[in-house]
Subunit: 202 residues, 8 copies
């Protein structure tokens, strides 16, 4: 449930409707304070992650299954989008880990997390500005990389376009790109990639 | 080994060097007739798929393991890029299937291949022009979709940019995009996604 | 009468002038609350469709003539623009039907409305994001399709540009495109296409 | 059948296959000399319009029905694309008329053809450079206008993009746009719009 | 004096400084209400044209000399920019005339003003959306045309870019283009073109 | 007569037709060697300026009248376009002077020609790459400046787009811009601006 | 420390943390009034340059070493960005000089500062609109030029893109470009270039 | 001397003229085989580096002075542009070193050259595709980095635009960018930055 273009009233109505389906996880993404209040009025026990601008209900994610999803945020400004990806993967039933502030300007930081990165079944890399981190990560791990451009930056960053283009041209293979700031899409895709073997058709 | 910017001489030298490493699969992609001749001079038993503009050596792909990779070409013009993706996945050790000419203008065709599509661990969808097919496929299957824009089209297709943008904005979740005409990248990513469980870190 | 760039005062003055011409239908499009109040002050019986941001006067549309205009909205966010198209066609004298929430990510929904779509003399298809729906609809019906890109989406949707480009490259013939969010233009064109035979010159 | 990306051999094979279906009109569009020769080898009586780069088989268009399609070319350089549109509409069964060299820099020329333009059920307007003619024509006739941008021009014409944008922003209502140089699409759409009443669903 | 990026305080300071130079005309362009108040505080007799967002001091323009400058606004929304051009030319010492609401969708209106247009030494044509009017006017007069694109429009108008591109590609010779919404520049250039013969070097 | 998109045969036919009208100057612009030969076959005494890719007939320009047109080429690579502008103005009856190789990287060169520049009734400035010269010239002279962007440059020059944009944003007033490489348009406009007073309507 | 995307609270927390490190210069750039207040609450003696939207702590810059950094602002609107560059270089330990309002439309002003410009080890040139000044300066000095495009301008300035492109195409060698409005980056680079010889490796 | 747009004849004439000035180094850049032959005919002892498409005369570079210039090529395809930069710096009197094939997809390679990189007074980094390497290098060294985007890549690389944008948004400070494939400009700038102290004004 993408809230950004909707009124709190519309979001609240959806939240009310959802209450009848506790068997299905519902995610409210891009939820501003007004949206969040409207959801919490209907679903007081919903889990709210304000930094990710996301609410989840039922509040408890499913028991994790499948491979590990590691979400990497190049800088602290990329964190909201990265957390949206992480929460999405988590509520779709995956184990998740978050790695923050490992931009390419300080290689030792990303190299310092290599062991974790190499345990991942899939790595989501959120980066704005030069969008260089997915190339670097894809060169370090054997797992597929979901590149998540963010609108962090200014001027010739063109609201994430520079990062998006860089990621489309990643010089390491194994990188695919989702829309700018599309944390939900990146997390969803990562959850599919890391889905447990039973989900894999014979 | 991306041949497009290299001379046949350079490609031939690489082919000669590769002969010492029959344990590693080498793919020569974007190989024109001159490149192909240069490779075959050094590696006469290399497998040549002219439609995919690709040569592989050793000629025999590894025994397949992991999940099924289904590659879909929206139209016959998308076939070269689609075949490049398919051969890449196959030589990286995956089972592959090809589905052709199932563009969104004739929905019954894609719906007629639903059973196969749903058996895939990952689907690669190559499309130019409006780039609409990945959205449709992602709405029909639970597996992740690698969207592969092609430069097929003219005018406002802008050499694949229109397709690329459409795919970035796919209205179904579970879609990630690679560079225009990047069949190798799509096939490589698909092979990673469909890698057998042992490759999945505990 | 396009209100968006005008002050309520200017719009009110036009509404006052229009009162002398009850024989001509006047549409006030892109009318915000202030514009609407200014119109209703002068023309209290004007018909106001707030969702379409449109007022019509005289309130009663002409008796319908000509072919059926079906307006399709890919998602609920496309509804305001779609309703603007529909009301325009209706006040220009056509029978109209609205079909909502039939995006390409859920093909069964659009396939479920096939009978209605095939009765249309012309179909208007409003869609944002990947702009894929007009291609799909044009592949299903024999009537012409007016593709109406909307600014729904974010990031690489570029305020409707991605949808516009996709629609320009529709892989089914029979599709023409109007400006982003131009519901009025789409409805006007549809009314012309579906005009009754007498309007057709011998 | 769009020939541009195909080899003469591929086009010839399609021409051979088509021979079994004289009940269906087949159009070979964007056919260069090599394509044309390949078609004529298989279908010696095909009608060839070299200026439109188009071949039709069977050579005789169907008996015309429905409304009149008027195709307007702003300048002589727009003529190939305009003729492609005209032939397409004609072989889809419409009466057609061609108006040439009536660019907006010489208004008297377009005003001199007003009587014909006003008899049309639909007008196709092909123009490159500033793409201004569709606006002018739509202001003169009550019928819908299919705007067909061409790649005629240089520099900031950007291969038809300037014309396309101008047409999307036509200041007269009743204009819809097809892809740059897409004569086939414009002609097809015009034929649908001018289809005879029986084709119009009750 | 371009006010847009300055504070009222900065503009007021410049107005105060200007008071010592009544022999030179000063124009305050893009002056919002706050800027205007600041200017009028220092120069109470300045002439304020709120629609053009412009103030002039000394209030009386110089006695006109040279040729006639005709400024044309395609629509009423183009009027502010057109008036800025007109006032600029007037305060630089030219005779000026204004022609409004003569967009290409209603050719009879522009044709109805032909006599005036042909008396001009230079014509400034302000237009947004499709930017088609300068082409039409240049085809009707022998004088040079200064094309002034405006940001009027929405969607694919891209804030005046569509109009600018159309004007760069005007199919009549004798058209040159200034920046989007640059009424001052257009008026300044027009005043130079229509400067009296003495200004013309032997 | 713009030759670029035409065959030598078409151009030759026009040249033959022109022979009957020695009272009108005809310019053949963007004429390659083949075009030139075709023209000279029909009009053997036509004046051919190969560097400007232009032929004129009758060969003798009219007696000059009106003000002086100075054409400035920033670099030698801008010379063909500059000469096209100069010849156009000359054959339309103006006195002309050419100034070459005065790019902004060597200010002393342009400053060294100040006396000539200040005698001009209008200055045409052809420049590619950074397109900076028109700003500089407009700051030095009182006459209007016609900025003529050229496609000289590479990479981020984007075939003249960078120069075009710079010229649209010239920080000196009195600059208007024509299309990239449009020497004919610049020369035509300059001839209009420098037209003799009798041409100026009372 | 780039403040623009952070809350005052976040910035204040960083300021508090910085207090323990008086041996390192910390710069708070793009600091709005709220950010500034938050910093000053924690570091009351920080030096605040409101025009540059920058705070520095410790307030005293290091003793200058290395070559002279001259920062040039084309117009007064470019001053904030230019000052950000200057302060950055100064707090990184360089001698700095500021030159203002020397745009190319008034060459005598930049020529009047030639002696200072030629004393510089590196020149930073901030300019918006046509971005022409770096070309001019690079033609006048032997030192490297750091071109700093600003978002000053409107319409086809495209928020600094026109200036950026012009600077990338500077026709004098010795120019390199940083991001739009990136005063910090320009100042940092200039400080590196003008670093004292000891910093230069043998 | 940039040869690309010139004929071999023109280049040869310049080479002949240069012969009289053995005291000045002349570089012929972007010299194809024809240009090279023309130069060598006039200056038989010129040094020709075919891979860099460059000739230098007199053949012997000046005795090196100043700091070390290290030129880095991300991949072998970036080598021609990188060599053009290196030769330029060398013939302007600097010591130079070349580092090849250290793209970000294989970090160990660039880390393996750290000692050399840290000895540089300035580093030129040539990279196409994602343009990520300058960010990485700038994070590893204290010297300024000249980022040199190349047109290596395809599809969404847009002939170097993606790399250029990434470099403009480098997340490490100390990076400035030159035009795409502008090896000469990068080398010239690097030579200026690494100029010996005497060149540094007191």
């Amino acid at each position: 449930m993408y809230c950004a273009g909707k009124t709190p009233g519309q979001v609240g109505a959806i939240a009310a409707a959802v209450r009848a389906r506790p068997d299905v996880v519902t995610l409210f993404t891009r939820a501003g304070p007004g949206h969040a209040a409207a959801v919490l009025r209907e679903l007081p026990d919903a889990r709210h992650d304000p930094e990710a601008a996301l609410l989840a209900w039922p509040p408890q994610p499913p028991a994790p299954a499948g491979g590990l999803v590691v979400v990497v945020a190049a800088g602290t400004s990329d964190l909201p989008v990265a957390r949206e990806a992480l929460q999405t993967a988590r509520y779709l039933g995956r184990r998740t880990e978050l790695v923050v502030d490992v931009g390419v300007a300080g290689l030792h930081r990303v190299l310092g997390r290599l062991e974790l990165l190499r345990r991942a079944r899939v790595v989501v890399v959120a980066a704005g500005m030069d969008g260089a981190l997915p190339s670097v990560v894809a060169g370090l791990v054997a797992a597929p990389v979901v590149a998540l451009p963010t609108s962090v930056g200014y001027g010739a960053a063109f609201d994430g376009l520079a990062a998006l283009l860089a990621m489309m041209n990643a010089c390491a293979p194994g990188v695919a790109v989702v829309n700018i700031d599309n944390g939900y899409g990146a997390g969803h895709l990562a959850a599919q990639i890391a889905a447990p073997a039973p989900a894999e058709p014979a």
